[in-house]
């Protein structure tokens, strides 16, 4: 153990992830056809969504069971704004801002009410269910925002695709959409990583580790948790924007429980307290769902449920930390402390007042 732990913003792991990302961004269109590229675009959307959950849960210690509320709000905000405005620059910005505002409002009541972690899970879950019911009941011509009908359970079809900013007629083709989606994923990863390396990020992690201690040091956990929650909501909203673009369509299913469950599973499987883990988890589980959906033998819900229970019981840390620990064990010298690994609580080291 080195006595002083550095938390460098730019580490070898970070650089390699970004390089792999850029290689995929540029190389994939040459390797697959349009269908494969579209498939990869939805993987990227889900990976951004997973990043948001990984940030809020893995680093902020806030278990949000309803992250899909922000995905859906982002998606709907984009769809409604794009149908009304034509040019998609503002709709993209709105798809980030609307979920953030909603998260700020909800988070204020939750964090400033000082409710416990489990209650936060339950409240966010119910909010998602209620948003689902609310949007689901908007079929009929009277429910519209400007030029955009909400469409109830049928959703909003033919949402305009992203265009070059300022040129509403230059809509992106599937390849352009892939660049946008993968670019957004890399951007989100870099931004979140920078946030975590900053002073703010360290306080967030400190609060996750020991809220009382952080509070005694003079930080207000409520505010930091609220900000973490809001940032996560913005990232999830962007994921919703990409997701809507992928199908040119959005429906209330974005709010349903399976969506919230999936993102929890991505993070749990990939690894809590990492950013790469959720991305890999998202890609892996999406692939598994496609496999399961293709063969019509196992119900996808059953598969997700079994995977979730098995991981909670058997591998609660997730795959990336487990693999990394194995890797670190076989590295003889210069044991660098992994940048973002949560420290396991020292057993038998009781803190007074805990």
């Amino acid at each position: 153990m080195t006595p002083r732990r550095k938390m460098p913003a730019i580490s070898a792991g970070f650089i390699s992830v970004v390089i792999v990302g850029i290689v995929l961004l540029l190389g994939l269109p040459y390797l697959t056809d349009t269908f494969g590229l579209l498939q990869m675009t939805v993987f990227a959307a889900m990976a951004i969504f997973a990043l948001s959950q990984g940030f809020v849960w893995g680093f902020g210690g806030i278990l949000c069971f309803g992250q899909s509320a922000f995905l859906g709000l982002g998606g709907y905000a984009y769809a409604v704004a794009a149908l009304n405005m034509g040019d998609t620059t503002w709709p993209v910005i709105l798809s980030v801002i609307v979920p953030m505002l909603f998260a700020a409002l909800l988070g204020y009541f939750m964090f400033y009410g000082r409710i416990s972690d489990a209650y936060i899970g339950v409240i966010t879950l119910t909010v998602t269910i209620i948003l689902f019911n609310l949007i689901n009941s908007t079929s009929g011509d009277i429910y519209h925002i400007g030029a955009a009908p909400l469409g109830g359970f049928n959703g909003i079809p033919s949402v305009p695709a992203l265009n070059i900013p300022g040129h509403p007629d230059d809509q992106l083709d599937p390849q352009g959409l892939w660049y946008a989606a993968m670019g957004a994923l890399i951007l989100c990863y870099v931004i979140l990583r920078m946030i975590l390396a900053s002073r703010f990020g360290r306080v967030v992690v400190a609060i996750r580790e020991n809220e009382t201690r952080a509070q005694l040091l003079g930080y207000d956990p409520r505010m930091f948790k609220l900000l973490t929650f809001v940032i996560g909501a913005g990232v999830a909203g962007l994921a919703g924007c990409v997701y809507t673009n992928w199908g040119a369509f959005i429906s209330p299913t974005v709010f349903n429980l399976t969506m919230s469950a999936q993102v929890i599973i991505y993070v749990l499987i990939g690894g809590l307290g990492t950013l790469v883990g959720p991305i890999l988890g998202a890609v892996g589980i999406q692939y598994l769902i496609i496999l399961a959906g293709g063969q019509h033998v196992i119900d996808p819900n059953l598969l997700l449920g079994v995977v979730l229970v098995a991981f909670v019981l058997l591998v609660p840390q997730g795959l990336v930390p487990v693999v990394r620990n194995v890797f670190l064990r076989f590295r003889p010298i210069r044991r660098e402390v992994p940048v973002m690994t949560p420290e396991p609580p020292l057993s038998g080291h009781a803190e007074p007042g805990q």
């Binding site: 879950l125 119910t126 399976t258």
Partner: protein, 288 residues
């Protein structure tokens, strides 16, 4: 006047329904501090148990009042033994595991029964409140809800089992030192909560229908009510269902059921800000 009568009756039925769908969740949460995210699916299993046994020719009252709770209680027992007991003391992990369970149960029922919703016809007819017709079945819901709450109260207060359960709840180590086996009590409590969920599912079949995803319709309301109620199971459930039931029914009457549900959520979120421990966390602390 007639309208007021009908509205009052509907509010009572709403409160009864809320109490009924919440009480099983409250038992498991209040005693074991486990948030059972599979509660809605336990109700769904109760509904399917009722549907299957009435389809097989069983009397509907026996199906919903006996078969459904017994079957789901048994399922709960198995689940406690195979999954939950490894996770005691890890609240978040239990939530995740029960959520996985809920998805698994939805997937399993879909594989067996398919996606299409089914129904069981209402065994009773309607009666007149002045100019309006109200369903006599609403009275059954109220009666079952009151019976469940009163029965639970009587069991916890009056029986030796209730005494042991309350002791284990307060201090499992002390109870163990006095010769009680906490694992057995936890197992029984989880099964009891599951059975109550099954009862709720069975009783609500005639008005809600049966489908694999029906659990989601109840779970939000049930959670909000449990949180609003706070630590005391019986008092908390009764108070919170009364409060939220009235809000929900009145707003639903003025607008739509969905808006009613939104009003219920808003009321709950605001209340959580004021009373983070729920109603019985601040008031009536010594109650059950």
């Amino acid at each position: 006047m007639d309208l007021t009568g009908l509205l009052a009756f509907n509010v009572l039925v709403g409160v009864g329904t809320l109490a009924l769908i919440t009480v099983g969740l409250g038992v498991i949460y209040g005693m074991m501090k486990i948030i059972n995210l599979a509660h809605g699916e336990f109700m769904m299993l109760g509904a399917y148990a009722t549907y299957v046994s009435t389809s097989a020719g069983l009397n509907i009252w026996i199906a919903m009042l006996v078969v459904a709770p017994l079957f789901v209680g048994l399922v709960g027992l198995v689940i406690e033994r195979t999954i939950i007991r490894f996770l005691y003391g890890r609240m978040i992990d239990t939530m995740l595991a029960t959520w996985g369970l809920s998805l698994g149960l939805i997937g399993l029922t879909t594989s067996i029964f398919g996606n299409d919703p089914r129904g069981v016809s209402t065994p009773l007819h309607s009666f007149a409140i002045g100019r309006f017709d109200a369903s006599l079945y609403g009275i059954v819901i109220i009666v079952v809800a009151v019976a469940a709450l009163v029965g639970l109260f009587a069991m916890l207060r009056g029986t030796r089992f209730g005494l042991i359960v309350r002791a284990t709840m307060q201090n499992p180590n002390m109870a163990a030192a006095l010769g009680v086996a906490p694992p057995m009590i936890y197992m029984a409590t989880f099964a009891l909560g599951a059975a109550l969920a099954g009862l709720a599912g069975g009783v609500l079949v005639p008005i809600s229908g049966v489908s694999p995803v029906m659990g989601a319709a109840f779970i939000a309301k049930a959670f909000i009510t449990v949180l609003g109620g706070g630590a005391a199971i019986v008092t908390g459930t009764a108070l919170a269902s009364t409060l939220f039931g009235i809000i929900n029914e009145l707003v639903s009457f003025k607008s739509t059921p969905v808006i009613g549900e939104v009003a219920l959520l808003l009321a709950a979120v605001v209340m959580i800000r004021v009373l983070p421990q729920g109603i019985t966390g601040r008031f009536l602390k010594r109650s059950l």
